[in-house]
Symmetry: C2
Amino acid sequence: MKLAAMTPMQQSDRQLIFDNEGIKAFALQLKKIRKREGYTQSQLAFESGIILSQIARIETARINPTLSTVFALARTLNVPLADLFAFELAPKEK
Amino acid sequence: MKLAAMTPMQQSDRQLIFDNEGIKAFALQLKKIRKREGYTQSQLAFESGIILSQIARIETARINPTLSTVFALARTLNVPLADLFAFELAPKEK
DNA sequence: ATTAATTATAGCACGTATGCTATAATTAAT
DNA sequence: ATTAATTATAGCATACGTGCTATAATTAAT
């Protein structure tokens, strides 16, 4: 029996967005600033309350972090938010 | 019978962060820039692909948006990311 | 005052961010 | 070469962001 026959397997038509380009750019930016400020992932994790594995996931662009997470990192690194976002997004082609 | 007796009701000890202050500041900033750029929520929704209700939720600081969402908004509004984050977070007290 | 436009709220389903814990892989130090 | 430190990966449970649809509330226009 074919698997498809028993499992409906209907995928959602609705698409969530994962902005690969932006997420990668942010990952780089965070890593850069973290090092610039002399933090290891481990220290940053401890002081910010964001778990280490999560910081690694962010810096390797595996996930799409929330603002609260980013805010916690910026606060700990003691840098303006704008610093973490000082990179260019490719403009939307219309 | 007491409700507590039948339902375990054990809440997770783990705490997720919702940075109320930051989320509120971002909400204001988005609203400000959206208007400055002459967009209604509805237009912004349509062009960015972010659903209207979601934009309202963001501007009323009900949710903690993801970076991909913010990136989509910045792209549509055609403003640098740093603009959306041009506000101060209260420094972390240690 | 009515009507239209805009913004806000509500509830649901689904996907995924996060915390947690453990381990592997990589890099730095000795 | 070993050891230590740092970073990356994995799998799970839980919370919650997002899309979707519908409706209410508010504000602007006539």
